[in-house]
Amino acid sequence: MTQINVNVHYVTRIEGHGNLILNAKDGKIEELKWEVPESPRFFEAMLVGRHYDDVHHIASRICGICSIAHTTASIQATEAAFGIKPSEQTIMLRKLLYDAELLESHVLHTLFLAAPDFLGVDSVLPLATTHKDVVVMALRLKKLAYNLAEALAERKTHPLSCVVGGFAKLPDLNVLKALRKRLVDAYADLDVTVGLFKTLKIPDFVRETEYIALRDPKEYAFISGQIASSDAPAVAINDYLNVTNEFCVPHSTAKYAKNKRDAYMVGALARFNLNFKQLSPRAKKVAKELGISAPNHNPYMITVAQLVETYQALDESISLIDQILNKGLKEEPINVKPRAGKGVSAVEAPRGILFHDYTYDENGIITKANCIIPTNQNHNNIQKDLEALVPGILNKPENEIRLMMEMLVRAYDPCVSCSTHSLNVIFK
């Protein structure tokens, strides 16, 4: 009789808490579960009663690593509710700030959190000796992303200068010029990373699912567009609830989601699959080098899709800085007139699409809030992936099974600490 018991209480090298449980006897799975016991944070309850100027400041605290995504979604939802159209300059600065977060988050995930598994070590720390050049390079890329965010919003974690209606402070053009040079230099660093990833053996596992991401006819979408799906026509972001269909499960404080199939995936691979054609030529070339083409149905390839997107972020940020340097920046007065109503915004956080939905009264005070985060949308898909993966690897030693399961969860770059939830209960 063979018995396999995998119990990973708190998967490490992810943001937030998640547990993996597998009990199998004689080749039969008795229990297989991805559990999310994260402390619920109650952001939707915390936002009720707050003035619009405080809302994005609080919403940023949903997640340290995607704080720019949450801040941007929050600001855009408030602007949608008030009928404010941000200026072209504001949109450019927001996109540039966004690229900084995407670059930082993807570098952190691919090199610090995911790569150690492929290299057979427990963390990035031993790599400081065995792959020192890679670690130093990753730190340099992270620093660059931080400095870019600092130039635009004073800091990366919980950004400051971006507000409803525009920017409370504009970046210094000379600082942007200096950053442009470092961004150009960063290609060489990324090329080294690609070189490393070409040597790694990515597990060969395929499970096709529904892929959901923003799509904008103008560009590879991060902060604008409609909700596109691999299985259905795109829908307006105001109709997001028809896509997410959240439901509660007893073993998890996070909610689960499903749309056309029993589960769907969001994040870098979903964006790559849906919007591949809009990637920059350089990003497409890197995709080819890394042996990934759209559509790809291997969830372990999410990390590779992230690496492709780092080139997209570099290309886009350099192009945005060029446009800004060319046009110059002008002080734009921030005029916000609150009005009663509802506004929805969707953005692509590094780990997938997220939604903020606010209802305001005429004084600009929130009466109802709903936030749906990417990882909650992925939990269900992670569970379905595990159910498809584990039967095929049950003959392997227990530690290998555990590693394959942990690597699968890590590939999704989950950010469980967000722990915001949705529900349409009116607060009285």
Partner: protein, 246 residues
């Protein structure tokens, strides 16, 4: 023997730990030369139950977190609270203005019965805390400074004066002069007034100064035609748990 340090997080966004990971290459490698990191779930897989200094991020908002926190206190020689959630309760305490049933109903509706939640609190409401690294998020430079002095066996110096002092040094125009509310006069310094430098106002994330001069804040408000309610409303964001509010 190098001191063993561990990181733990409770209810939080994990932004504080990210700020630690944001140390530059030299700073990080320098620090790693002086300590053994034995527990850092966000960054490393290894875990150990044996550590000397525990850095704790996040506030306490579930019954189940209380015994976990107490066990860390028993093991660690030094407990350092890191970030607004751990030090003063932070934004998590905003939910304390509702009854826990209201909060649960709002977010989870019919499924509310699945969830364990209690009013959020800073960690010193549960265990004694030795040192505080404040802010939302804390400055990496302050993290390095405090950690280095702990390693040298010295007591870290924490400013007791208000943010206004640093704000003037940063060359900012006073937020009150712009007709807006600011918590700088009653908030503990150490952040270099980063929020005002970024075009905003002070949100009070580092908690109150040692002897807050509430009367003088009121005078300032009167001078600029602002109300106490406006300030209290802003103050709630990070300082709901403070004695002034209770």
């Amino acid at each position: 023997m190098k001191p063993k340090i561990a990181f733990f997080e409770f209810t939080s966004c994990e932004g504080c730990q990210l700020e630690v990971l944001n140390l530059s290459g030299e700073e990080l490698l320098d620090l790693l030369g002086d300590v053994d990191i034995v527990n850092f779930r966000e960054a490393i897989t290894e875990r150990a139950d044996n550590y000397d200094i525990a850095f704790i991020e996040g506030s306490i908002s579930r019954e189940a977190e209380i015994p976990r926190l107490k066990a860390i206190r028993e093991q660690a020689k030094i407990i350092v609270a890191i970030g607004a959630c751990a030090c003063i309760g932070g934004v998590n305490c905003l939910k304390n203005h509702l009854t826990m049933n209201q909060a649960l109903q709002m977010v989870y509706g019919d499924s509310a019965k699945y969830y364990d939640t209690i009013p959020a609190r800073p960690i010193n409401a549960v265990i004694p805390v030795d040192y505080y690294i404040r802010g939302c998020p804390p400055l990496t430079s302050e993290f390095v400074k405090v950690t280095k002095s702990l390693l040298l066996g010295k007591k870290p110096e924490i400013p007791g004066h208000p943010v206004c002092t640093e704000c003037k040094m940063a060359g900012n125009i006073c937020v009150f002069e712009l007709g807006k509310t600011c918590l700088g006069p009653v908030t503990r310094a150490g952040c270099k007034a980063i929020c005002v430098s970024g075009g905003r106002h002070c949100w009070g994330c580092r908690g109150l100064v040692d002897e807050p001069n509430i009367n003088s804040e009121e005078e300032v408000l009167k001078k600029y035609g602002l109300t106490v309610e406006q300030v209290v409303d802003k103050f709630k964001i990070y300082n709901t748990y403070s004695e002034v509010m209770r």
